[in-house]
């Protein structure tokens, strides 16, 4: 039995607070802020999972939006078509569709990763770039999921236990999934075998000489990253209720990468905070109207100049009283 540390207790409290979000959030905040919050949750999953690949394992993937799109469309299609057949979308169907979205994305990650991760360096960037575009073009041409018109009437993950008739998506589910995703990735990296990810990044030859199967390690990171991207895509589909291929263009992948770099390659705390910051910032800058994106870009440049290693570099935020965790010198 593990000892209860202050960190564990705090994490449990945070989880409980997120789980309860559906009860208090709709009363406290307006729908606009509410929407930004769930987008934050989705972006947290995207940034943390990409950090596992680009930050911790040191690979260079720029096709994260492709996995997100795949997961989103698979999840939405299952919920829509199975929902029709069943005459409704029960809770378990959401679970099935979300997990299927993640698993299909993971499978695609395996197919893309196996041949390309044997090679080093920029090769993966080109392959993932191509993959993202292929997925998008494929979706554009599948009429059953709306093609270029977009996929409409996707069932919404509603508020937990609210009984309300308005289709407000559940913030609890999104935020708790984000929390668990970050936790799983954190546990993976800080397990004894998980140290192989960082070893591959630091020195592939030395890692190989210690008996680490570097290809397998890279593929594992890539597949897990793809799974969570697919999961995030599914959540996106079931909160917005609408998918369009143009939401998953190359720029979306870049946006996620910016979160990872800004937060710090190799820092999950950084990814979480950067994902929240970069989701909120464009909204907060709406007052600047036409200059909004100029200001946004300028702020990014200033941040990167001030901290080229990202906000957190490769360190995690730690509670002052928590004992030094693994992974930190």
């Amino acid at each position: 039995m593990k000892r209860l540390t202050p960190g564990t207790i705090l994490a449990a409290l945070a989880f409980a607070a997120l789980l309860g979000a559906d009860f208090y959030a709709p009363r406290l905040i307006n729908p606009y802020v509410y929407q930004i919050l769930w987008l934050c949750g989705i972006n947290v999953i995207l940034a943390s999972s990409l950090n596992l690949v680009n930050g911790f394992t040191g690979q260079f993937s720029i096709g994260h939006a492709g996995f997100m799109a795949l997961g989103g469309y698979v999840s939405a299609a299952i919920a829509v078509f199975a929902g029709h057949a069943l005459g409704g979308v029960p809770a378990w169907l959401f679970l099935v569709s979300l997990l299927s979205g993640g698993l299909v994305a993971a499978l695609a990650g395996l197919l893309v990763g196996l041949p390309s991760l044997r090679l080093r360096g920029d090769y993966l960037a080109i392959v993932t770039l191509g993959f993202g575009e292929i997925i998008r073009t494929l979706i554009l041409n599948v009429d059953a999921v709306g093609g270029a018109r977009g996929f409409t009437d996707i069932p919404i993950l509603r508020l937990l236990l609210s009984g309300a008739s308005e289709p407000t998506p559940s913030l609890s589910i999104v935020s708790c999934t984000a929390f668990l995703s970050v936790l799983i990735i954190y546990r993976m990296i800080h397990s004894p075998r998980g140290r192989a990810f960082v070893a591959v990044r630091e020195d592939e030859v030395a890692a190989e000489a210690l008996g680490i199967d570097t290809t397998r390690t890279k593929v594992t990171a890539f597949v897990v990253g793809a799974f969570f991207a697919g999961l995030a895509g599914g959540l996106f589909a079931h909160t917005t209720g609408y998918l369009n291929p143009s939401s998953f263009q190359f720029m979306k992948s870049i946006e996620i990468m910016v979160m990872v770099v800004l937060g710090g390659m190799g820092s999950l705390t950084g990814s979480v905070l950067a994902a929240v910051l970069l989701t909120v910032l464009p909204e907060a800058l709406r007052a600047a109207q036409g200059y909004r994106m100029v200001l946004y870009s300028a702020l990014l440049i200033v941040l990167m100049l001030a901290r080229p290693q990202g906000m957190f570099g490769s360190t995690e935020l730690r509670l002052p009283w928590a004992r030094k965790g693994p992974g930190k010198p």
Binding site: R195, D203, G211
Partner: protein
């Protein structure tokens, strides 16, 4: 234990090893000496699978290593402390050692072995939680050797352990290599410091531009006129 016959290694068009044959018996310290570019490191890299030989055979305890992946070769009981140390600078000493035991599942045995390495290199114990990149060159070399020992190999490949170290540290490292050997470890040692290497080894090979020039008992090599002139400063 290790039997290499007629090994040919190329880097692109460069012929780095030309029909090299080397043999290492259980319990020995065998050294490979020679000038820069003679092919010493290439030979170690070929043994541990980091470069693929074009021809020849590499047998470890009767098993052919040619064509195997490096991580599979480690599983057979061969461990390589690479040239330039290649420790994980951003990880702590403890984490580096832990990675050395990556393939092992007996956490108790891993812990005991870490203690044994701290006994061999007391300085590493003092620096257990410290980032490996902040260690001195000698301490990094100790860590590289310690890390290689953590996989509990039967054959240890050491590449230039004296590289860039102060003479007093070099002596300390060589003393430890002899200790490790006395505990039963077989060692294949690549060195530029021929003087020390021949003192530590049972047998030696002199490599010159990719071929074995001499092969003999270490003490006889040390008194060989040509070897003395070329590698021991007269």
């Amino acid at each position: 234990m290790l039997e290499i016959r007629g090994l040919d290694v190329y880097y692109g068009a460069v012929h780095a090893l030309k029909g090299v044959s080397v043999r290492v018996e259980q319990g020995e310290v065998v050294t490979l000496i020679g000038a820069n570019g003679a092919g010493k490191t290439s030979l170690l890299r070929a043994i541990s699978g980091l470069v693929k030989p074009r021809a020849g055979s590499l047998k470890f305890e009767g098993r052919e290593l040619g064509g195997m992946e490096p991580h599979d070769i480690v599983k057979l009981g061969l461990s390589h402390a690479p040239e330039g140390r290649q420790i994980f600078a951003n990880m702590s000493v403890h984490e580096n050692l832990e990675l050395g035991a990556y393939l092992r599942k007996d956490s108790r045995g891993v812990h005991d072995d870490q203690e044994r390495i701290f006994t061999l290199f007391p300085r590493l114990r003092e620096r257990e939680k410290q980032g490996a990149g902040t260690l001195s060159g000698g301490e990094q070399q100790m860590l590289a050797i310690g890390r290689a020992l953590m996989s509990r190999p039967r054959l240890l490949l050491l590449d230039e352990p004296s590289l860039g170290l102060a003479p007093i540290l070099v002596r300390e490292i060589f003393k430890t290599i002899r200790e490790i050997n006395q505990d039963g470890m077989t060692v294949l040692l690549v060195e530029q410091n021929a003087h020390l290497a021949l003192k530590a080894a049972n047998r030696g090979y002199v490599l010159e531009t990719g071929t074995v020039k001499f092969e003999d008992e270490a003490s006889r090599l040390a008194s060989n006129e040509e070897v003395r002139k070329a590698y021991l400063g007269g």
